[in-house]
Symmetry: C2
Subunit: 215 residues, 2 copies
Amino acid sequence: MNPTITAFAQSPDRGRGLARDMAVRWALEEVGRPYDVRLLSFAAIKEPAHRALQPFGQIPTYEDGTLALFESAAIVLHIAERHSGLLPDDANARARAIAWMFAGKSTVEPPIVERSMALLLEADRSWHAERLTMLDERVRVRLGDLAQVLTGRDWLAQDFTAADIVMVTVLRRLGGSELLKEQPIVGSYVARGEARPAFQRAFEAQRAVFAATAK
Amino acid sequence: MNPTITAFAQSPDRGRGLARDMAVRWALEEVGRPYDVRLLSFAAIKEPAHRALQPFGQIPTYEDGTLALFESAAIVLHIAERHSGLLPDDANARARAIAWMFAGKSTVEPPIVERSMALLLEADRSWHAERLTMLDERVRVRLGDLAQVLTGRDWLAQDFTAADIVMVTVLRRLGGSELLKEQPIVGSYVARGEARPAFQRAFEAQRAVFAATAK
């Protein structure tokens, strides 16, 4: 039996792979595990049936036999723990890679999401320009820190790990913004992630959902 | 050898246990592991020596023999994996508890931190009142979701786990705000966490740092 993930039937990102199912699809492609997808409308993710799987009414979820999981990074970690190739064998290196997964979600992602929300929800407010300047600066600080870490290395740990799946998908939410271009070391890191065949298969799979519904 | 954690020499929370060393202290107290603390000034956490341990210039870090970790939730997970009592034995239940750790840090914490930052950094801006209303609502949605989950249960999983350490410390950042009082189920959950002897020992340990420097 394949595991089943949930994703948006009509993703707000219009097939750009910015929704949070992308990291899970990518991890599954890296380990060569086929999966099924259940597409959900915006209404359906807020209904009790989905909330029983995802208490905050979000996507993705992950069902595999008797296991039901939520939170994309937790799902990626679960996949990495049950297949080889996404976490180092050495115990210390493994713990460090997991630390980077949390860093992606709780230190790097919040200012990026906050900036996206300001662009989406506050564009018509009188304060928008002034606040965006503050938000850009918060993102810049994180990207600067990441650039230091990534100087002279291809991935956060020595080899590609689940942490890179989390971090690259977080950074991709900056989209075509100038902020990523200001830090070419970080930009190259994202491009390295996007160049992986598993990323490309995952990207095409989510884009096919958009293409089918956009017809 | 005891592990060594880092914490603020002068925590901005003035001993209220809201800094991110609190979760790590609590986890170590739960498993009965003594630890040493290295206190750092605000200047020191941004210096290269500390950034080698914590790439974003934050606290806490965790050093145990040859292992150096950062990100409080990752440290809590590491402690939980190497001692008994903080994660379920059943593999599925364990994966769910880890999902709740990520939910605490990446779904519940960001709007709470954003609200704290607005109170701290934007109180004199023209937009403050209008924006605070938006931020309160975002926190309310998360607390409402959590209240549903916690109805009829004491902890996020069946028994107390590392996920409750993460979630309770995240929710405590709401401090004495009315938002927590609006959801008594969530408020009671936080109080249950705070009533644990291990929480109290951890709380006293961090308060002692404040008391000593405030003299």
